[in-house]
């Protein structure tokens, strides 16, 4: 990590500390109080329980939205008929507020796990479709012709000709998707789940426990940052290793 980055983080901590002194511990608890709350929640086992519940929902909803979104995006990008039929639906879905989808999912599906995950996935879906469709539209026809002349089997052509071209779009969708999905998962948990980080936030809000809200938020941000640096970035580097690095 560069010195500038460290200095920036130190400044953030400094402002936080100064803010807590000015506003008082009740409105904005200081870093050491939040750290103590994290340790206490971790000791009791509550932190791991809620974190695991939220992460499982994030993973499921994210996986579902990416899989279906990629398939539909490729279809709409390649087949004109599918694009014309699907586009109005896409516009509706894109402009439907997340809260509306969540409430409708709970009303129609009950306060169930399936309804919760479906609501999150549907929120992320249009975004994935739009990005992947853009990628499918940008496919190089010259390479497609090459694969056709050499009679490359379909599966091999998709894996070696199509997917590498869609990969940067997929990475972009995944990146924005992960942060979007976890934010929506918290809302879903707040409204209708008996566990998870969002549920804890709801309890803490009712008790006006700002320390716990910040504690859970920080831990979750740390987990997502870890996933980003340990999983997403290495995958991206691997996928783009063929690019000639120019200064």
């Amino acid at each position: 990590m560069s010195m500038l980055r460290l200095a920036s983080i130190a400044m953030l901590l400094g402002i936080w500390y100064a803010g807590s002194v000015l506003a008082g511990e009740r409105l904005l608890p200081g870093p050491e109080a939040v750290l103590a709350a994290i340790v206490a929640e971790a000791r009791s086992g509550a932190l791991a329980l809620h974190l695991a519940a939220t992460l499982a929902r994030v993973a499921l909803a994210f996986g579902l939205a990416m899989a279906i979104g990629t398939a539909l995006g490729l279809l709409m990008g390649r087949v004109k008929l599918a694009d014309e039929l699907g586009d109005p639906w896409l516009v509706v879905l894109l402009n439907l507020p997340a809260l509306v989808i969540i409430i409708l999912a709970y009303v129609w599906g009950g306060l169930t796990e399936a309804a919760a995950i479906a609501a999150v996935a549907i929120n992320k879906l249009p975004n994935t479709i739009v990005t992947i469709r853009e990628g499918a539209r940008a496919l190089d026809p010259a390479l497609d012709e090459m694969a056709r002349v050499f009679a490359m089997p379909r599966a091999r052509a998709i894996r070696h000709v199509v997917m590498p071209q869609v990969a940067p779009y997929f990475a972009a969708a995944a990146r924005s998707g992960l942060s979007l999905v976890w934010k929506i998962v918290l809302v879903v948990e707040l409204l209708g789940r008996p566990n998870g980080v969002g549920f804890e936030m709801g309890i803490a809000f009712q008790l006006f426990d700002v320390t716990r809200i910040i504690a859970y938020a920080l831990v979750f941000v740390a987990v997502m940052l870890t996933i980003e640096t340990m999983v997403v970035q290495p995958l991206e580097r691997r996928a783009s290793r063929w690019r000639v690095r120019t200064a």
């Binding site: 010259a142 390479l143 012709e145 090459m146 056709r148 009679a151 091999r156 070696h160 063929w242 000639v244």
Partner: protein, 245 residues
């Protein structure tokens, strides 16, 4: 043509393109090919020589099956793979040179690939990505790809341009070896009459757009006298075609 091949596999390549038009953006049609008719016995090499922009690449695309929007028929009296060298290398940038070749020729043995890379002087570049290659190297990689598939139809769109003379000469030698080793019907587009004479069994001269066949010259011998005679004939026909317009 060898007797080892079953009768049904030995048919000729019949090209009948009555007309090929492109729609103009301003409306109307632009005619690029007109009455291209030729029959090429299995294993023969045809070279097409014509002014640039006359529609040679369009013709090759139709024969390769990439463009089906034309009036006419292409009948291939034999099965088997098609190998093609496009005007641009058209390599997969995210796969190495070796992977690019193996992806279209999964059955090729390591020994065969090693020999091929060696001839094309690509051995040190097997693990390089196309973006790391010069244009000349990338063209050689695309030649390796076309040679690696055991093609029964080989389509070459100006395969030796932007290569230095010595290498181009060696690659022509390799192409001749390849064609002599098995029956490979080959279509070669070139602007180099000497290259056409050196490689082909028959030379087709094409007119300016819309392209028609203005002359078909069989090449039976390659001694200096015959070569000079063909070259003179080419010059006479092209001059005549130009006068007629």
């Amino acid at each position: 043509m060898s007797d080892a091949h079953p009768a049904g596999e030995c048919g000729p390549l019949e090209i009948r393109i009555a007309r090929k038009c492109f729609a103009r953006t301003s409306g109307g049609h632009l005619e690029v090919l007109q009455d291209i008719a030729l029959t090429l016995p299995r294993g023969e090499v045809a070279a097409f020589v014509g002014p640039s922009g006359c529609g040679k690449t369009t013709m090759l695309r139709i024969i390769a099956g990439l463009d089906r929007d034309y009036e006419g028929t292409i009948a291939r009296g034999f099965g088997g793979a098609v190998g093609m060298v496009f005007q641009e290398p058209r390599l997969l940038p995210w796969r190495t040179v070796e992977e690019n070749v193996r992806l279209v020729a999964p059955g090729a043995s390591e020994a065969k690939l090693a020999a091929l890379f060696d001839t094309l002087e690509l051995t040190p570049h097997r693990l390089h990505y196309p973006g790391q290659l010069s244009l000349g190297l990338a063209r050689r990689a695309s030649l390796a790809r076309a040679f690696a598939v055991e093609a029964s139809l080989l389509i070459l769109d100006e395969p030796f341009v932007s290569l230095d003379d010595a290498l181009a000469a060696r690659l022509r030698g390799e192409l001749i070896k390849l064609i002599d080793s098995r029956p490979v019907t080959t279509l070669l587009v070139t602007h180099d009459v000497d290259e056409a004479i050196g490689l082909a069994d028959r030379l087709f001269l094409l007119s300016a757009s819309p392209a028609r066949i203005v002359a078909e010259l069989p090449i039976r011998r390659r001694d200096p006298a015959s070569t000079a005679a063909i070259r003179a004939e080419v010059a006479r026909v092209t001059a005549g075609a130009r006068r007629v317009g």
